[in-house]
Symmetry: C2
Subunit: 452 residues, 2 copies
C-alpha cells in the first residue's frame, strides 16, 4: 500500500497548525535565493497547490531539491504552518524532499505562458497547466451534476448505442464503421450515432422519464470554434410531456449546472473569470442567469426583431430561413442579454419527428441560445400521431420501412412526449468563457485532427 502514507493538499486546511504532514505531487515551479527555496507543489487534489519552503542553510540535506525541475515528482515530509497574512493561507516547511520521478529537460510545460493552440498539440501534458486543470475539473463536476440532477429527478439513464444503422437527423454526415480485414461484421452498414434520441424514445414510452448521455459524432467538414467531430450530448426524453414541460426541464437543468459550477468550482471559475474571459465578467454573467428566468420568443418574433436590428448581418434574415450563429448570438447577446428560448420554428428547417403545430407551418420545437456560443440546446415535442408522422416522412423521402420500429411506437400506446439534447462541450464553453470547443475536450477530434 502506497496511498495511505500520504495526505492530500485538499485535506491540509482541516489539520492543526504545526501538524506533521507527508505530501507527494509534481513541482509546478521551484525557485530559491541560495538560502531558502520555494516549491509550488500540485498533487491534483485541488486546483491550487501548496507552497513547500525548504531552508538549505538550516539543513544542507535539502540542497539537492533546488535542482528539481518543473514537472518532477517528489515526496515531501514537513510541518504545516498557517500563514493567514500571506497570499496562500498555509505552507509546508520541508524536513525532507525525496525525488520520486525526475523530469527531463525537454518537458514543454515550463512556467512561461503557452498559447492554447500550442497546448492542443500535447493533450497528454496540458493537463498540468492551470487552464486545463480548471477545465477538466469543471467538466467532471458538470458531467456528474447532470447525472445526479436527472437521477434525483427520477430519470433513468439509458445508454443508447454508438453503432447504429439509423441516422437520426437524416443529415448523412456520418462516420461509417468497418473492420481492418473488410469483414461484413454486422451483416449491414454500420455508422456512428449522431444522436441517441430515436433510440431513447422507446424507453420513455416504457419508463416515463429517461436520458441518454454519451458520445455522438458528426463527419461534417466544419472547422469552427463550436464544432467537434466527437462530442458528448445529454438527451432527456419524457412521456406525457409537451414543449412547455420540456422547456421547464431544460431551464432547470441548465440552472442546476450554473449553480453547481458557481458553488463547487469556485476556484476554477475565478481563474477563468480573471485569466480567460475577455472582459472578466464571467462570474457576474453566470450569477445573473442563475437568478433570473430565461427569456422566450417565437421564431417569428425573432425574425421580426432581427429584421429591425440596426446591424448588417452577413447572412439574410427572412421567415423560413434558418438562423445563423451571428443571428443567434445577436438575439441572446443584444436583444435578450442572456439565455433565450426560440420556439415554433418553420417545419421545413427542422427534423421530421417534431410535432406539427396547428398552423400547418411550424413545429413544436425550441432552441436555447446562450451568449458566446449560440445554440446550446435543441428540443421538441415529438410527433406522436402515426398518420402525421408517416406523411411527413414520406414528404421528406425518409425511409418509412427502415424506421418502422420508430413509427410503430405510435401504434402501440402512443402518448405525447418530448425531449431535448444539450451539448456538454458547448455548455462548458458557456460556463468557463473559453472560446474554442477544442479546449473543453480531453482529446479533441476535428477535421484533420486526431492526436493520439
Amino acid at each position: 500500500m502506497i496511498r495511505d502514507q500520504y495526505m492530500l493538499i485538499t485535506d491540509l486546511p482541516a489539520l492543526p497548525d504545526g501538524a506533521s504532514v507527508r505530501l507527494r505531487g509534481w513541482i509546478r515551479t521551484n525557485r530559491n535565493n541560495g538560502h531558502v527555496g520555494f516549491i509550488d507543489l500540485n498533487d491534483g487534489s485541488r486546483f491550487s497547490g501548496c507552497q513547500i519552503v525548504y531552508d538549505m542553510d538550516a539543513d544542507a540535506a535539502l540542497k539537492p531539491a533546488s535542482k528539481y525541475a518543473t514537472g518532477t515528482a517528489v515526496d515531501v515530509t514537513g510541518t504545516l504552518v498557517f500563514t493567514p497574512d500571506a497570499r496562500q493561507p498555509f505552507e509546508v516547511r520541508a524536513a525532507s524532499i525525496v525525488l520520486v520521478g525526475g523530469c527531463d529537460s525537454d518537458f514543454p510545460m515550463q512556467k512561461k505562458r503557452h498559447s492554447l493552440e500550442f497546448l492542443r498539440e500535447m493533450p497528454h501534458l496540458r493537463t498540468r497547466t492551470n487552464t486545463f486543470s480548471a477545465m477538466f475539473r469543471v467538466r467532471s463536476v458538470i458531467s456528474a451534476a447532470i447525472h445526479s440532477y436527472l437521477q434525483s429527478s427520477d430519470f433513468l439513464y439509458i445508454t443508447t448505442p454508438i453503432l447504429t444503422g439509423n441516422d437520426a437527423e437524416g443529415a448523412g454526415e456520418v462516420f461509417t464503421v468497418g473492420t481492418c480485414d473488410g469483414r461484413d461484421f454486422f451483416g449491414r452498414d454500420a455508422c456512428l450515432t449522431v444522436s441517441g434520441q430515436l433510440h431513447v424514445e422507446p424507453f420513455a414510452l416504457a419508463f416515463d422519464k429517461v436520458y441518454t448521455f454519451g458520445p455522438t459524432f458528426r463527419a461534417e467538414n466544419s472547422n469552427t470554434t463550436t464544432h467537434a467531430s466527437e462530442f458528448w450530448m445529454v438527451e432527456p426524453e419524457m412521456a406525457f410531456c409537451d414543449l412547455e414541460d420540456d422547456m421547464a426541464v431544460m431551464e432547470a437543468l441548465i440552472r442546476h449546472c450554473i449553480v453547481t459550477a458557481l458553488s463547487d468550482c469556485a476556484d476554477e471559475l475565478k481563474f477563468f473569470n480573471d485569466f480567460v474571459d475577455k472582459d472578466h465578467t464571467l462570474l457576474q454573467r453566470l450569477q445573473t442567469v442563475a437568478d433570473s428566468r430565461f427569456a422566450s420568443m417565437t421564431y417569428t418574433e425573432a425574425v421580426t426583431a432581427l429584421q429591425k436590428a440596426p446591424v448588417a448581418f452577413q447572412y439574410p434574415v427572412d421567415w423560413g430561413l434558418d438562423l445563423k450563429t451571428e443571428h443567434e448570438r445577436y438575439i441572446c447577446e443584444q436583444i435578450a442579454g442572456g439565455p433565450v428560448f426560440i420556439t415554433d420554428y418553420p417545419k421545413d428547417i427542422k427534423a421530421f419527428y417534431m410535432r406539427q403545430n396547428d398552423d400547418g407551418k411550424t413545429v413544436a420545437a425550441c432552441d436555447l441560445l446562450v451568449p458566446g456560443v449560440g445554440e446550446l440546446i435543441g428540443g421538441s415535442q415529438r410527433e406522436e400521431r402515426h398518420d402525421r408522422l408517416v406523411a411527413r416522412m414520406q414528404e421528406l423521402s425518409i425511409p418509412v420501412d427502415a424506421l418502422g420500429w420508430y413509427t410503430d411506437l405510435r401504434r402501440f400506446g402512443t402518448v405525447p412526449h418530448a425531449g431535448f439534447g444539450v451539448g456538454l462541450e458547448r455548455l462548458l464553453m458557456y460556463l468557463t468563457g473559453i472560446g474554442n470547443i477544442r479546449d473543453t475536450l480531453p482529446y479533441p477530434r476535428t477535421p484533420g485532427n486526431m492526436i493520439f
Copy 2:
C-alpha cells in the same frame, strides 16, 4: 403543461386513503368478469404497477375500458384505496378511464411469457416487459452508483475519446472508421477505442485519481454469452498507487454496487431472484458477498489448485497458459465460493504496460473473477520505469514511436500508478443472475447483429 396534471404510482403510498388521484400509463393486463374490470397499469415510475378497478355495473360509462388492449395508454381518475390484506397494498377505484393512445392488435408484448431470444428481436418493445423493466432500472442505478461512488471518493471523470489511432491492447481486433464518401477525414487511420486506459493515464499523472466511463468496442468474432461488440467500461486510474491499493478500490467499488443494488433495486432483484436466477439464490449470494472480504490467490496458486481439481477441464492447465472461462468459473464457484482476485500473472499472457515483478516472470496484474461470469475486472500496476517499459515494448514489437507520448509520461515526473477496468454489462450479469450479456444492453451489438 401536461405533466403537472398527473400523479405517479410511486407517489401513491404516501397519500391518504381515499385520496382523489389522476394517473396515466400503459395497460399491462386488463381482465373483467362482465361486471367489474381490473387493469394492471404501469406508468414507468417504478417496477410494479397499480391495479385499477372499474365497476361497469355501477357506471356504464366505464364499459369501453373493457375493450382496451394490453399496451394501450390511458388517463385514469379515481380514488386511492389501501388494501392491506390484499397482494397489492393499494388500488385505485376508477371514476373515468380515458383513452390516450390505442394499441394495434399486432402488439407483440402480450401476457404470455416470451423467450429472451424472441424479445431480443424487438429492443424497442421489450422495455415493457418485467424482465427488461427490471434490468434497465438496475442498469441505471448501478451506472449512477459508479459515478457517485467515484465522485464522492474524489475521482475526476475524464471522457477519453472513442475515435483513436491507438490500440491499447495491441490486439488488432478493432473497428475502423471512415466516411461515406471515402474522405480521409482525420488525415490518419481511425478506429474505435478498445479501452480508455492509455488515454486516461496522463490525467492520473496530473489529477491523481481519475476515471473514464464510456463505450468500448471489440471487433472479435466471438458469439458467446459474455462478449458484446459494444459495451461500457469504467476504468479508474490512480497515481501514487500500487496493486494492493488498486485491489482495495476494486473491492470497495464492487461492494458499493452490490449494496446499492440490494437497497435501491429491492423489487427488481427480488424479481430476478424468483423468476430469472436458476436456483433462486441470487439475493442470498449477493448478501453473502456484501458481508465478506473477497478472496485472493496468486496465478501460481490458482494453477496448482486447478491441477489438483478432481475435474476434467476441456482446456489444459499449465503455468504460463491463460486461464479459460471454465477455469475461472471453477476457481470462483468451486474453490473460493465467491469473488476472488487472481494476482501476478505470467508477463507473457498480459499487456505490455503492466509492471514487471522482481521475479522476472510475472507482472503486478490482477483479475477479479465472479461466479456465473468469470472475469469481471482486469487491473494492474502500470510500468512506471521508462527503460523497462520501452524494453518490453521492443520485445513485443509494439511501436515505440507511435506511443512516444505514452512512454514520455515516464520521463516527465513518473510515479507508481495503477488502475483497472470493470465491464458494466458483466457486472449487471453478476448482479441480476441473467445469463446472456445481450439482455443487459438496451440495443445489443454482436457479430451479425445490430438491430436498429
